[in-house]
Symmetry: C2
Subunit: 253 residues, 2 copies
DNA sequence: AGAAACTAGTTGTCATGACAACCTGACCTC
DNA sequence: GAGGTCAGGTTGTCATGACAACTAGTTTCT
């Protein structure tokens, strides 16, 4: 049966700077998402896969580990690796609302409501690990998708980033994109999701009634070096927004 | 200086069934959380660590990978591994509310409001991948922590689990614990977090005013084999509950 | 016929070895 | 003094080899 391939179609490029295990992981992921690896089916076993692709078994294992982490496959000791029979969607990645929207095909627009330098409020100062009354850059944005307000975002960043996070930049694109363009890679964030009722100003801006519930998210992001980069306090109309995520259990438990 | 140790204190047990890398990861985690590895400091480098603990470097790397995944350390190519200078809290694990509460030292109690077999509603049937009007086990629980209602939980599980998920079991402990005791290991879940206002019955049960916002969570859990096991639709009073999580970016991006 | 023991196949763990890529700081040159 | 260059140290990647642990099915024994 000559149709056994499908994995080896997109061959691995040993000259590429992209690691082999990662190339393999991406090939497998596209194979799964495109359906050429049908749901619920077994993956070829690791040793055979390694032989076919001419890589070592640890490399194959590492590629599969990436997929398992993303919730696309499940490994079972003594059994094999099976393709998850469901489309479990985006894990809550370290992504911005802007990215999420553009990916979803919506063209988000931004209204910049505030852009100023202020003394850091207490919770912001502790969150960003700044001493006392350090001054920080504060800005507030209203994000609209297809004309409808979908989020009111309040952010604080250290003053050093004033040249990176410019007024013009914020109007045109997302915060995370601005940071990335300046070589700042966010690596880690801790966030908290809750709910509350809107204050009058918020209800007006988001075009909501006074009783309509809001989703709230507070997030502190850290860069490669572990330095806190951004403190965000955002609200979303619950009727137009929800957080989707997939959770994978530790393999040991 | 004899105080250099601290890692080797809790020695590795080669006879234990727990893998070496995992023992090491746990030792490091406790060292970090207890503060004996101070925030922002470098970890000993991998080769030295391997030498001291008499394990191979891949084993050390794997242990550190676990920590990096949990957001406790950050690895930097050419630099080293540093302890994240913040207490970033629990990732939204695949854990139950019951486990979370007992871990937090609260003694949760449960009131079982419903326990019955019903035809599966449409969304439940599709979520659990059941055909048509299959019958499922439905139950509803009110969870209290220190006397206060903290969650109203509605669940559906396939009828095959009726012997596992018993009325008595639900009154005494959590759903996930019941499943685990029967050898069912949840491996993956997709969940959605939103907010809305309570219905009258919900407000009464949770002791809330009609305007008080609720957090909602819908979750479908899958076991080792990728079979859907549980459909849950839960609500939490926003003033008493929030979701905390840490998000780690893919190392390659 | 039923239960226990065995076997084949798979993933899980661990070791060793080697080289590449990367960052920092010191040194040297201009 | 400013800039580039180099060396040392670190993590990143990959290969090979070996054995353990687990699962499911088959065979054998009672």
């Amino acid at each position: 049966m000559g149709a056994r391939r499908g994995l080896t179609d997109a061959a691995l490029d040993r000259a590429s700077p992209v690691p082999l295990y990662y190339q393999l992981a991406e090939n497998l992921e596209t194979a799964i998402r495109s359906g050429s690896l049908s749901s619920g089916s077994h993956l070829e076993n690791e040793i055979e896969l390694a032989r076919q692709l001419r890589v070592s078994r640890p490399t194959v294992r590492r590629a599969i580990a990436v997929l398992a982490n993303r919730g696309l496959v499940i490994r079972r000791h003594g059994i094999g690796t099976l393709v998850v029979p469901v489309r479990v969607r985006r894990p809550v990645r370290l992504s911005s609302l802007y990215d999420d929207l553009t990916e979803a095909g919506q063209a988000p627009t931004t209204r910049l409501l505030a852009y100023e330098v202020v003394p850091a409020p207490l919770d912001v100062a502790t969150g960003l690990q700044l001493s006392g009354e350090t001054r920080v850059l504060h800005f507030e944005r209203l994000r609209l998708a297809s004309g409808q307000p979908i989020s009111l975002m309040r952010n604080f960043v250290p003053l050093a980033l004033k040249e990176v996070v410019t007024e013009e930049g914020l109007k045109l694109t997302g915060l995370y994109r601005l940071l990335r363009q300046s070589g700042i890679h966010l690596r880690l964030a801790s966030q908290s999701i809750g709910a509350r009722s809107p204050r009058p100003r918020e209800a007006r801006l988001l075009k909501l009634g006074p009783g309509a519930p809001l989703l709230t998210m507070r997030r502190i992001s850290y860069d490669d070096a572990g330095q806190p980069v951004e403190y965000g306090s955002h609200i979303y109309p619950a009727e137009r927004y929800s957080f989707e995520m997939s959770v994978v259990a530790d393999s040991r438990t």
